[in-house]
């Protein structure tokens, strides 16, 4: 292929040098083909957007001004949402520690265990949280428990993955020295590796908690408790003033939590 073969340049002194061709044109062609295929599959039409985009703002306009009288009904579900994400994140993060320990190939020398744990973690990460919540509602019934389980599982998979990567990149000198003095694997890990990864671990957990508050707010949509339940109800009845109020509360809550967590994450770094 001419497109990919390097370009030869003859220098004045008779030598030839080769210049690598840029692969940008090839990438652009592939992207274009993918885009056109996707447009065909999804029935994307620019015309429709321009014609009917005003409908989008109709709903938005209906939400403003939000119905402030609806606020007293919202505190309990909002607190439920925060509780769900808090307890799910904390327990998930705690549970992620032994999982990451077992998945780190520089601590657990048995390759079979480490790679099985890694595979389980990535399997867990593939399932969208909403689907997990949906399955959980079938097992634990409607309510906050299902949402907590979904958030717990997501946190384990997310924090677990980042944590085992950090453990694998940690400096092993102190760990090896401690083992040579006769400390067991767990003790050497506790005193040599854990102090190295702890700040990052806490910061990852906080970041995950931030994201979980967002996720938790929609989990109610499938019946897993929290403010999402009211969101679905109001959307179903086309009561957009109430939807506006719910979204306003959510934005403010997420903003506050994000600010607090960002402050602590900066301190940890």
């Amino acid at each position: 292929m001419n497109l990919l073969s390097p370009k030869k340049i003859q220098l004045p002194n008779g030598k030839t040098v080769v210049e690598k061709r840029s692969s940008t044109p090839l990438i652009i062609i592939v992207l274009l083909i993918c885009t056109i295929t996707s447009i065909n599959i999804t029935g994307f039409e620019l015309e429709v957007i321009f014609k009917r985009i005003n409908q989008f703002f109709v709903i938005l306009a209906d939400m403003i001004p939000p119905n402030f009288e609806y606020m007293p009904n919202l505190w309990q579900p909002l607190l439920d949402t925060i509780k769900m994400s808090l307890i799910g994140s904390v327990f998930g993060a705690i549970f992620a520690l032994p999982v990451a320990f077992l998945a780190a190939s520089n601590i657990i020398r048995t390759r079979f265990i480490a790679s099985t744990m890694k595979f389980l973690l990535s399997l867990l990460r593939t399932l969208p949280t909403l689907v997990v919540a949906l399955i959980a509602t079938f097992i634990f019934g409607l309510g906050t428990m299902a949402g907590t389980v979904a958030i717990f599982l997501f946190t384990v998979s997310y924090v677990g993955k980042l944590l085992y990567e950090q453990i694998e990149n940690a400096n092993m000198d102190a760990y090896e020295a401690m083992q040579s003095m006769g400390l067991s694997t767990v003790y050497a890990f506790r005193y040599a590796i854990l102090p190295q990864v702890l700040p990052n671990y806490l910061s990852t957990t906080l970041f995950c908690f931030e994201g979980n508050v967002r996720y938790a707010s929609i989990l109610g949509y499938v019946g897993a408790g929290g403010i999402g339940l009211l969101l679905q109800e109001s959307l179903g009845w086309r009561n957009y003033v109430n939807v506006g109020m719910i979204l306003l509360m959510l934005v403010v809550t997420v903003f506050i939590i994000e600010t607090i967590s960002e402050y602590y994450r900066k301190k940890l770094m």
């Binding site: 996707s38 439920d80 990535s122 097992i139």
Partner: protein, 267 residues
């Protein structure tokens, strides 16, 4: 007092705040313990779990391998939604990112655009999905618009971090040798940003694929709708085949995206 003792003293001063943080966390945990209640757990919850597991272990093979209307087609549709949505979002996010980078535009402008983007990001994707259904009706088209809208919010945030790390000295030296504005953008800015932007976009595609697979819940196309129908009618073997397809797809895409991203960033 030597350096080691000083360090020890410093550590001790930290203890009070550590204990306080610990107490606060315990308090918050106790407060939120009410989220765990098994009152609503149906008596057949364990049975249900067993059925789901059995369904996943014995999937509906005809659905899994049927290319017309089966799982493969639904997966392709989901990928198409995520791909197109990511492309649109990636392009729309570029101007917005420059508008919210505090080293490019005046501080007040950057602050206002950022505030707007925080609002855009916080609203759950499902709400956008329901709003866009009014625009384009049910189907994958709605999914594309929703994914595009959501990714604009997220991508802008990640782009901004890259833009704010821009190396200005290159631009200064280009000014000193007489390059005009266009040349500065073409040879000074684009090469610095393109690789990282591309890596961010691929990462976002990975995320969008997950989002696209649940958007079907509100009728925005993709594999979500068949999944929830199968669940609500307790057809666990169909649920199993859909979940297997979804897991395989996401695993493959994640693997590929990790490979491509590390190649882009590390050269």
């Amino acid at each position: 007092m030597n350096a080691i003792e000083q360090q020890l003293q410093y550590e001790k001063g930290n203890r009070a705040s550590l204990i306080l943080t610990f107490i606060i966390i315990i308090f918050l945990l106790v407060w939120s313990a009410s989220a765990i209640n098994l009152d609503n757990m149906t008596t057949n919850g364990v049975d249900m779990a067993k059925n789901i597991l059995l369904g996943i272990l014995s999937p509906d093979w005809s659905l899994l391998t049927n290319f017309r209307g089966g799982v493969p087609y639904l997966l392709i549709e989901t990928v198409a939604i995520a791909f197109l949505g990511t492309m649109i979002g990636a392009i729309l996010a570029i101007p917005l990112a420059f508008l919210s980078a505090s080293n490019i535009v005046p501080k007040p402008v950057a602050f206002i655009v950022r505030l707007l983007l925080i609002c855009v990001r916080t609203v759950p994707a499902i709400v956008y999905g329901l709003m866009f259904i009014r625009v384009t009706g049910q189907g994958p088209f709605t999914g594309v618009l929703t994914i595009a809208f959501v990714s604009v919010g997220m991508l802008t945030k990640l782009y901004v971090d890259v833009i704010e790390e821009l190396d200005r000295s290159v631009l200064e030296s280009m000014t000193s040798i007489g390059c005009n504005g266009f040349e500065k953008i073409r040879y000074g800015i684009i090469p610095q940003l393109s690789a990282l932007f591309l890596s961010i976009v691929i990462y976002r595609f990975d995320m969008n694929l997950r989002d696209a697979s649940v958007l079907g819940l509100v009728g925005a196309g993709g594999i979500g709708a068949p999944l929830i129908f199968a669940m609500n009618s307790y057809k666990w073997s169909q649920v199993g085949s859909i979940l297997i397809g979804l897991i395989l797809l996401i695993l493959i895409v994640e693997f590929a995206s990790n490979k491509i991203r590390s190649k882009i960033v590390n050269g």
